[in-house]
Structure formats: structure tokens, C-alpha cells
Symmetry: C2
Subunit: 348 residues, 2 copies
């Protein structure tokens, strides 16, 4: 595939023009004033293009980056790319970035601030033009520091409220509010929430949305939020659910997709029947629910929008560094299902 690697100079020599002109022709460069294209004679441009084609010319990315101080790479830092919610966002970002001629570097924090910090460092030294970050717990300081630089940053899924920054987040309160209403309509009263023992904004807002909705329905007295340990979900979930008295507690709202899957599995293992003994609303769908004897009601997050808004915002910021931060709040969709109706009226 690579016999000889041709450079701009080779093309210039072959075309009998200067390297500069080749660069202009190849990049169709805009003139500094910003609007009209650098004027390269059409005929010359065509000749240059043809030679580039013939040589199978490939830009040297390192040289271009070094000189232009742009890498056309974007760093994306997620909690865990093997989590389906994040991997589907990753896939969308990858596709859109590809279209826009950007490459993407992925990293997973596993919810550890040290890893987040290390990834930011690595990505910056790799020269990324911008960063999309799902901030983990105790990352306020890190994000604040990062914002002192002039690198475009967009927070995804979670917020760091102490700092002015671009964000794309879900309307978490509304999501949980609606879930509670549905369970209430479905005939449940003592609705508890199963959440993570993690101090991140989306968790906090989901819990707040739950509590507010319970208050509003006059069910505040039996509202309760259970906290699961992120680092040992399975055990923690088993212990938590085993401690619940399902003759009293009649419904559960799970705060994230991973909790939903782990929770429903644990209920299954305990032999607690959904929706007869307990109503359930999950966060995001999952393959795990497809073989269950009931359809799962869930709060669906707009994965495509998350990816699109975050990516297009970073790319925009790369070209407009002094733009004021924007917070983009996305609306969830409620997907109905048997799991939220005490009386199983529909058939599966």
C-alpha cells in the first residue's frame, strides 16, 4: 500500500509549482479575512489534485498538527465504554466525528477522579482540540482547573455546577417525576427508589425529582432512596433488595440503566414477581429485559441527541473559542410497559 510516501514537495516538483501552492490547492484554504477562498488558478488546482491522486498522497497528520496547532482529534472521557449506554453514545460520536473529519480518542474513568485526571493529561498531551467529558464523583476541582485552560470542553450526562461550562444533560427531575406518576397511575403507592451512593449531578437530580413527585402525590411519608455501592453493584443490590419488605413497598424506580438491570435480576433471583408484587420503572431499556415475562416500562434517554449535541458543540467551540457556555437540556421519553401496572391488563 505504501511504496513511497509522497510529500507536498514531490507534488510541487511534479506540478512545477511551489509547495505553498500545493498546500493551498489541497486545503482549499480560506483567506485570513475569513470569507473568500484563497485564489488558486482553477486549472493549476486541478493539475495539483490530479497529481496528488496519482501519488496517492496522504497528508502527514503530525506535520499538519505541529504547524497548524490543530490535531483534528477530540477526546471523549466516559465512565465505562463497555456500559451499553456509553458505548452507544460512543458509537454515535465516532460516526459523526468521522463525517466531520475528526478522530476520537476514548477513555473510561470507572468513576475514579485519578483516572479522569490522568486521561485529561494524556489527551491534552496528545494534542486533542477539544474534550467531551462525563465527569465522575469528586471531579469539581479537576474540571475547574481544566476550564482555566482554553481548551473547548463539553460535559455530558452530568454537570459540575460550580463552574461555567458547556453541558448536555437530561432533564432528570422531569424523567423521574413522570416515572413516579406512571407508577402511581399503575396503582402503586409505596414507591421507593434505588440509586447509587455517588455524588454526581444526574443522580442527585433524579433523586430530587423522585422526592418532589412523591411529595406532590402526598406520598412523601413513604418515600425512600436506597443507595447501592458502585464498586460492588451485585452484592450491594442483593443485600438492599433482600432488606425490603415487599408486602409494604410496592414499587421501585431504578436510577440508572446498570442499576435497572442489576435490580431486576436480583428481584428475579429473590423470586419477587414483577409487576404483581412490585412495580418497576427502569432507566433505559436493555436486552436483559427482552426475555422477561413482562414488558419493561422505562425512561428512555435520547442517546443520539446526547452524542450529536455534545460533538457539534465541541467542534463549534474549536472554531469559536470565546463563545459563552451553553447548557443543553434534553427531554427523556417515557416508554410504557407492563412492569408499571399492578393489574396486568395487556398481554405481553
Amino acid at each position: 500500500m505504501i511504496k513511497k510516501v509522497y510529500t507536498i514537495k514531490d507534488i510541487a516538483r511534479e506540478a512545477g509549482v511551489s509547495p505553498s501552492l500545493v498546500s493551498f490547492a489541497l486545503n482549499n484554504t480560506l483567506s485570513p479575512n475569513g470569507q473568500k477562498r484563497y485564489k488558486v488558478n482553477d486549472e493549476t488546482a486541478r493539475r495539483i489534485m490530479a497529481i496528488a491522486e496519482k501519488f496517492n498522497y496522504k497528508q502527514n497528520n503530525a506535520a499538519r498538527s505541529l504547524r497548524s496547532r490543530r490535531s483534528r482529534a477530540i477526546g471523549v472521557i466516559l465512565s465505562d465504554i463497555s456500559n451499553p449506554f456509553f458505548s452507544s453514545i460512543a458509537r454515535r460520536i465516532e460516526d459523526e466525528a468521522f463525517m466531520a473529519d475528526y478522530t476520537v480518542l476514548f477513555g473510561s474513568t470507572d468513576e475514579k477522579p485519578e483516572k479522569l485526571e490522568r486521561l485529561i493529561r494524556t489527551f491534552i498531551s496528545k494534542g486533542v482540540d477539544g474534550l467531551i467529558i462525563v465527569p465522575c464523583e469528586r471531579s469539581e476541582r479537576i474540571i475547574e482547573n481544566l476550564m482555566e485552560g482554553n481548551l473547548p470542553v463539553v460535559l455530558l450526562d452530568r454537570d459540575v455546577e460550580s463552574v461555567a461550562v458547556n453541558r448536555v444533560v437530561l432533564d432528570n427531575e422531569a424523567a423521574c417525576g413522570e416515572a413516579i406518576c406512571k407508577l402511581h397511575e399503575g396503582g402503586y403507592r409505596c414507591i421507593e427508589m434505588v440509586s447509587y451512593d455517588m455524588e454526581v449531578s444526574n443522580i442527585a437530580h433524579r433523586e430530587a425529582g423522585y422526592l418532589a413527585a412523591m411529595e406532590q402525590l402526598g406520598l412523601g411519608a413513604c418515600a425512600h432512596v436506597h443507595k447501592i455501592d458502585y464498586d460492588q453493584v451485585e452484592q450491594s443490590m442483593a443485600a438492599c433488595l433482600a432488606s425490603i419488605d415487599f408486602t409494604k413497598t410496592d414499587a421501585l424506580l431504578f436510577a440508572t440503566n446498570s442499576l435497572s438491570v442489576a435490580g431486576v435480576k436480583a428481584l428475579h433471583r429473590l423470586g419477587v414477581e414483577i409487576p404483581r408484587q412490585v412495580g418497576v420503572v427502569a432507566f433505559d431499556g436493555s436486552e436483559a429485559f427482552d426475555l422477561a415475562p413482562f414488558s419493561m416500562a422505562c425512561i428512555k434517554q435520547p442517546v443520539g441527541q446526547f452524542a450529536h449535541e455534545a460533538l457539534s458543540r465541541v467542534i463549534y467551540l474549536i472554531d469559536h473559542p470565546d463563545e459563552a457556555p451553553v447548557t443543553h437540556v434534553l427531554a427523556p421519553t417515557f416508554v410504557d410497559g407492563d412492569s408499571a401496572y399492578r393489574k396486568k391488563s395487556e398481554n405481553k
Copy 2:
């Protein structure tokens, strides 16, 4: 975070030495003969390090790459990073690469040769030092061309037999052979296979393994391989399974993880009971099976080994370009489950 970006020159000036020496000190460079380190006075080295630290010095990746002709980046081209099998491999590769101070670029082909070709092009022009590729259908020519360059390449999961190249693959024949034996032991006789309508090596070998095992058990007469359309799995699977007479066919072997999930769901929808009406062995586990009323027997692929062997091989090849190609065959593990036993003896 970035007030001023310091360069090697700034450090040199501050330390009163030459930029070259700073570079040596920072890189702890090996001398050309290959063994002993470039001798930098310990005291000088320490002083340089201290200043670098103080300045919060970060290497400029572009400059380093341009000069050294190494990017410390590796391209990884998979079928689809949102498929759990590939996303878990991706995660492992990411982690190991990080440890080895490499970054990873991911791309998904969606089984389209055009996309594969485009990704290879992009990654090469981004300057990756090596490539890990899951080759898709009709990619022989592309891989052959690629091998004419001198870029280290390792094929993952699938082989392109026409070309001498490094590979990490599963022992697919053995995997399917064992699956068939288990189903046979489990009391099933008319075992059919559900595979993809795709000409890639692992599919071919899995089918061959299935057929050979059926022959060997004297069941060759009822052996049959169904082909599912990759681009519309759900419909194709529904049609395929609907056409099977389960009073005759008593077991199914699914050829990949995605087929397994789609297949079991389709059986569920058709109301065909596993393992009573039909025995099943899946390829890889899935969350989707966790809520099923039976445990799923499956062929487990060593995801960690796939990642490790492929990555360490590329990295090795980067430093030893003339090494002869090696084929690494990984052993699958059979995970037993109720789904492969006609008489459900164990309790769930």
C-alpha cells in the same frame, strides 16, 4: 491549566543546557546500539526533571511524531463497537494500551468493505503505528494491499487466509464441535445451526466444525445450516425460525453472540420453549439471558486474551518490523446450562 505552554527550549534555557540534552534526559533515551542508556549526568538529569515538573511540561505529540515517525497510536477496526463482544474487547485494548503509553483509535466497519477501506486510509493518514483489524466480508484484496506496506497488522477474530499476516483467532471448529457433543449428551439429535449469510473465516469454521461433529455422531443426515441476513437480523431470524418444524428439529446452535440473542428472543416470541421443545447453545453469554427461566449453555470466548494477544503483538511488531507472522489460536470455554439438557434436571 495551560497558562503558558513550555517547550524543551524553555527548559534548556532554565537549566543552562542544550535542548538535545533535555530531550535525552526526558526520554531516558537508549543509545543506538540498543542496550545502555544515553549517559546523562545524574545530577544534570535530576535538575532537568525538576524544571520540567515545575513548568508542568508536556511533550508536544505532533512534533515528536513528526520527527520520530512514530505516533504511539494504534488503530483498532471492529465490526461494531456497540456490539457487546467488541466493546468488551475494545475496553481491554484501551486499558492495556494506556498502560503501554499508546492511544487507540476505534472504528466500526458495519461489515462493509468500503468502510473498512476508508478507516484504514484515515488511520494511516493519522499516522497510526499499527493496526488491529476484524476483517469483514470481501476484504481479502484490501488486506492484501495493506500488507504490501510495512505497517504492523494483526487480524482479530477472523482470518484472511490468502495472505501471510498475524492473527488472533478462536478455535472455532473445536468450539462448535464441543457444543454439538453437549447437545447430543443432553439428549438432542436433530441439531441445526443458525449462522450468518456472510463469508468470513470464523463463520465458515464454525459451520465446518458443526458439520464435522454431526457427521462424527452419525447425525450428518439431519445437519442443516440456516443463514441469517446480517443487515436485517430480526426479520430474517423470525422468518427462519418460523419455518422450522420443532417437532422434528430439536436443538439449535447459534453461530455468534448477536445471533444467539436475536434467536432466543425470536424463539420466545414464537412460544417455543427452551429446553423442552428445543435445546440451545449460544455463542457468548449475554445479559439478555439472565432473566430467562433457564440458564443458557454457551461457548465462551476469551475476550481478555483476544485483546491482550492482539495488542501485545502489534506493539511487539512496531519494534520488530521484520518478524514473521504468527497465528495465535485461542481456546474457547464451554459454559454449561439448562438450555442444553432435554430433561431439566438442575433447578435454575
